[in-house]
Symmetry: C3
Subunit: 169 residues, 3 copies
């Protein structure tokens, strides 16, 4: 399990795709984005256009643990930020869903790479929903990072290693 955190336009998806393409395919792409406006539709199209042949794409807005559990090879989840947003908007049980995801990733037969936005390094948002989202994202990242073999933070397209394969630096 590898967790790829990064800011907006920090190159986290491209980095994660390059990592997984180093494994033998086919690669399963679990897309959590829901195209509810034109801006999001454009972002999704841009991400799809970058992925070459050899990828199987599935739209999984919520049932991520189940989709990972059913995988047979390398999996890329892009991204946890939107998955969490979908869960919160649907008033789902976030801690239970997070725990199930962690277990599914740890038990998956192939490598699982999870991409997520780091959103906690700005000023406290004035919006209460944004504060709740930020807290849930932080907790999810901590749970996954504790079990992941590697954690990186992408900055300007480059990986800053937070947890190297052999343990804490």
């Amino acid at each position: 399990m590898i967790l790829v955190l990064g800011g907006a336009r920090s190159g986290k998806s491209a980095y994660a795709e390059a990592l997984i393409e180093a494994e033998p395919g086919p690669w399963l792409y679990l897309a959590t984005a829901q195209a509810w406006d034109d801006e999001m539709r454009a972002r999704i199209a841009l991400h799809r256009a970058r992925r070459p042949e050899g990828w199987i794409t599935r739209d999984v807005p919520m049932a991520l643990a189940e989709a990972v559990a059913g995988s047979t090879g390398p999996v890329l989840v892009d991204c946890l930020t939107l998955w969490l947003t979908n869960l919160i908007l649907a008033e789902a049980d976030v801690p239970a869903a997070s725990a199930a995801l962690v277990e599914a990733c740890a038990a998956a037969p192939g490598p699982v790479i999870l991409v997520s936005n780091e959103v906690g390094l700005g000023i406290v948002p004035e919006n209460a929903l944004a504060r709740r989202f930020r807290d849930e994202a932080g907790r999810l990242h901590q749970r996954l990072a504790a079990r992941a073999e590697r954690v990186v933070l992408t900055v300007a397209g480059l990986p800053l290693v937070v947890k190297p394969p052999g343990g804490t630096p």
Copy 2:
């Protein structure tokens, strides 16, 4: 002196507590939070519940330098973000208070671990008070980091070393 920076829910308090518990106790916990609403009350209760026996907790919303100066063993300050907020809201002299805090930490008989939120890595806030807060926090972190023996940035519960014990990496 150790400075532990981190985003929201990045595990900075738990990391700092684990660091200080490696030292012989009792440990002095200087809490700067003021419970002015239910959300804050819940956060404070959560932090208190995590600390086991062996901790002495003091509420110090403003007079932090004095409290550190009066310490006789390991001290954990959690967190500077709220202390700075309290100073700004009270229209106190922030540069003078910051300078006094740095000196008190450097002169303390035991280790002093300071926890603070890194808040400067998002978009410029529209709110002028938030911009001022962000500037003051950045200046305070720079002052403390220059004198600290170690500085870490917690990401997803893991420490990214910014200043290792022996100097800049």
Copy 3:
């Protein structure tokens, strides 16, 4: 080419100035700030006051590639954040200007140090212009980082190395 990223008040300008002053001068300072209000005027004055003798300062709100191309020694660009803001407000062609800047930096006769704010690590801004700015900044940083010899992220005045001189860590 060296890219110095950092949050608000993270010491990125002072770090970049110290780096360039290690080279033989005179040093060319390309300032992109436009003083459109008192807050900005105060920030500019503060930055100017810190630079000692030996610096040549030019105000370059937009034509940065041209100014870098015309340089004959060490150049410090402070900062790309404001340059990008100026381009966006002028409805200029940002990708073309970014590409021209990358080429000019790569071809410059002396070292070029570029300072920019990392702004992508907070919650998604509600303001559409802020979201666009954040995306453009991220793309620009990735382009520059791919060609730079060194990339650092300053945290509390200290450099966290993202790309060391010899390549990715």
